[in-house]
């Protein structure tokens, strides 16, 4: 197995490193503090062609592969997990389902503005009563002439209110259960579409997380994504890929905390020596680094499988499970290594620890990842 980066991937990585250092890191603490969506960063990412990184060139994207996309999310997340998830949700959950399941007309109309970054993408599956049990959709779509009349509420929608294009799910035939769910492409200016409550969160506080409210929202029939009844399949396949993005985000968070910790233990002196000289801390850091490297291999492996057209559902679930739990563990230990300073917002470590937690929850909790892995190996 070979994970040497191609020259293209290396240059993309180098560019995103520079971009992150100059444009993302300087405002990361402020974005968190003020719970502010970093619109200016998204505009800069757009100018850099980052928003369509994995979209084929014929639809206005860069045509890079899944690993290049993973590298971008990873580098952004080293300094700011908020910025990492903006790109991840936009790419994996906004662009990809249209690219994969959309008609030619839908791709031209919706994928192009997403790929250029003119519009931001989002994905609405979760409801107040349909979290892990996504099949319990209470949003209903009823055909009416050339349209579907959609009523319902979505919650915890990443990029909510900032996105112009949403992939949303609704029940078209409740009697069919899972096979009664359908997917729709919805524009934010559709009559009947509105943004509800904006969540205040523990971490990724700059990321927009909102409720979506559909009140007699009329969506044209041509905006049905895939066929009626394919919604659940589309959602699950989309999340398989989304998990690679979140795993990359988790990996980046852990790496960012590790870099800061390495620097800190070399500088901070107690008992007349840098604290990195103490074996107790060295052992802790060796464990952290080992788990990060293991996460990286899992994440890159899942990305490579997706690029090569191989099955990746189990690999993505394992990558997300391991990388997110590693992120939580590494950031928690990084706070410990920083001691009292790490607990204050003078250092970015406490923010990283708060940011890490969500990676164990969204796009399928760690428990869901285990269900996916188990289902795959026991089938």
């Amino acid at each position: 197995m070979n994970f040497n980066l191609t020259k293209e991937q290396q240059m993309i990585q180098k560019t995103v490193i520079r971009f992150t250092k100059n444009e993302v890191e300087p405002i990361a603490a402020e974005v968190d503090e003020n719970q502010r969506f970093p619109t200016e960063t998204v505009e800069k990412m757009q100018r850099c062609g980052m928003m369509g990184i994995a979209v084929p060139r014929e639809y206005g994207g860069a045509g890079a592969d899944e690993l290049a996309y993973v590298l971008a999310v990873e580098e952004l997340s080293k300094s700011c997990a908020t910025t990492g998830v903006i790109l991840s949700a936009h790419s994996s959950l906004g662009c990809w389902p249209i690219q994969q399941f959309g008609t030619e007309g839908q791709k031209k109309k919706y994928l192009k503005p997403l790929a250029s970054g003119e519009k931001l993408g989002a994905f609405g599956l979760t409801e107040p009563n349909a979290g892990t049990d996504a099949a319990g959709q209470q949003t209903v779509a009823v055909p009416e002439g050339d349209h579907y009349r959609i009523n319902g509420t979505k919650i915890f929608i990443t990029n909510g209110g900032e996105a112009g294009i949403y992939i949303i799910f609704a029940m078209t035939d409740a009697s069919k259960g899972l096979k009664g769910i359908s997917a729709f492409i919805v524009e934010s200016d559709t009559p009947g579409f509105s943004i509800g409550k904006k969540e205040k969160k523990l971490g990724i506080r700059g990321s927009a997380t909102t409720e979506l409210v559909f009140k007699n929202m009329m969506v044209p029939k041509e905006n049905l994504l895939g066929k009626e009844g394919q919604g659940f399949k589309i959602a699950m396949q989309t999340l398989d890929g989304g998990r690679i993005g979140i795993a990359a985000q988790a990996l980046g968070i852990a790496e960012g905390a590790m870099e800061k910790s390495i620097r800190y233990v070399k500088e901070r002196e107690q008992f007349n020596r840098p604290i990195g000289k103490f074996q107790g801390l060295q052992f802790m850091m060796a464990d952290m680094e080992t788990k990060i490297q293991a996460s990286k291999l899992l994440v890159y492996q899942a990305a490579a499988a997706k690029s090569e057209g191989k099955p990746y559902g189990k690999l993505a679930a394992m990558a997300k499970l391991f990388a997110s739990e590693t992120a939580m563990e590494v950031t928690t230990k990084a706070v410990q290594l920083h001691g009292g300073y790490g607990y204050t917002s003078d250092y970015p470590i406490e923010r990283m620890m708060r940011d890490a937690k969500i990676t164990e929850i969204y796009e399928g909790t760690s428990e869901v990842q285990k269900m996916v892995v188990a289902a795959d190996i026991l089938r």
Partner: protein, 265 residues
């Protein structure tokens, strides 16, 4: 409009170490970058292209095969094509031979309105190559450009001076050398990176491609040679005094007296 931008790959001097014995740059393991003044030159050309999309930009460099990297970066930022002048015969050139080679290449390209060069490269700091190219081509030149305006084919620039600037107007063809204060260069774009690697946009020209005698290029064509390079000796370490003005004056007096630089007779 056709623009040629002369660029150079240089060692990132922020990362460079000096051999304490020989006094030369230790280049091994040092990352190479696109020279900062040249990046500003390219950015200004790209801004012309932003305004006038029909503009064609060629990035030109001379160097070893790996200098192709800066052309890739140039194309990834938005240049249309790149030309690498690379041949053992070009090696060891001073500014005289370098400008000779670049000017011949520009003559071969033929059609141009503006030539942008960075003021100077951070590895040599000579600031000679740009102006020499202008002289060899027999076209007007303005150095130290800190502001650039293009209107109806007329060019107006601010030329930085130590204590101000000159406003100079001109018409193409013209050569301008730019300083990095001119603009904030864009990042390479991701689609640009993919394009730069996947499309065949970079040509390599060797000695045989240029109409130039071997005595005018490389080491043979170089009237100057580096005799010795050395690191200037470190001056004594400075010391910054703390406290109020009165306290600082007191401390300063004390130190001057202690060092016998000031005596009470």
């Amino acid at each position: 409009m056709k623009i040629i931008v002369c660029i150079k790959q240089v060692p990132d001097t922020n990362e460079v170490k000096i051999d304490p014995v020989k006094g030369t740059l230790l280049r091994e393991g040092v990352p190479s970058i696109l020279n900062p003044d040249d990046k500003a030159a390219l950015e200004e050309a790209l801004r012309v292209k932003d305004e006038h999309p029909e503009t064609h930009i060629t990035v030109l460099t001379m160097g070893p095969p790996q200098a192709e990297e800066v052309l890739i970066e140039g194309v990834a930022m938005g240049a249309d094509t790149g030309i690498l002048l690379s041949d053992r015969a070009f090696a060891g050139a001073d500014t005289w031979a370098t400008s000779n080679t670049l000017a011949k290449a520009i003559e071969k390209i033929g059609d141009y309105d503006i030539i942008f060069c960075g003021r100077q490269a951070i590895d040599g700091d000579t600031a000679q190559v740009g102006p020499q190219i202008g002289e060899r081509l027999g076209i007007p030149q303005v150095s130290y450009v800190e502001k650039f305006y293009l209107k109806d084919g007329n060019i107006r620039v601010h030329r930085a001076l130590e204590d101000g600037y000159e406003i100079i107007e001109g018409k193409p063809p013209i050569l301008l050398t730019t300083i990095k204060e001119l603009n904030k260069p864009r990042y390479p774009s991701i689609p640009g990176i993919m394009k730069a690697y996947r499309e065949d946009l970079i040509k390599v020209w060797t000695y045989g491609d240029l109409d130039i005698p071997s005595t005018d290029i490389g080491l043979d064509g170089s009237p100057t040679q580096v005799k010795r390079s050395f690191t200037p000796e470190q001056k004594g370490k400075g010391e910054i005094l703390d406290g109020s003005t009165d306290e600082k004056v007191q401390q300063l007096m004390k130190k001057l007296q202690e060092n016998n630089l000031l005596r009470r007779d």
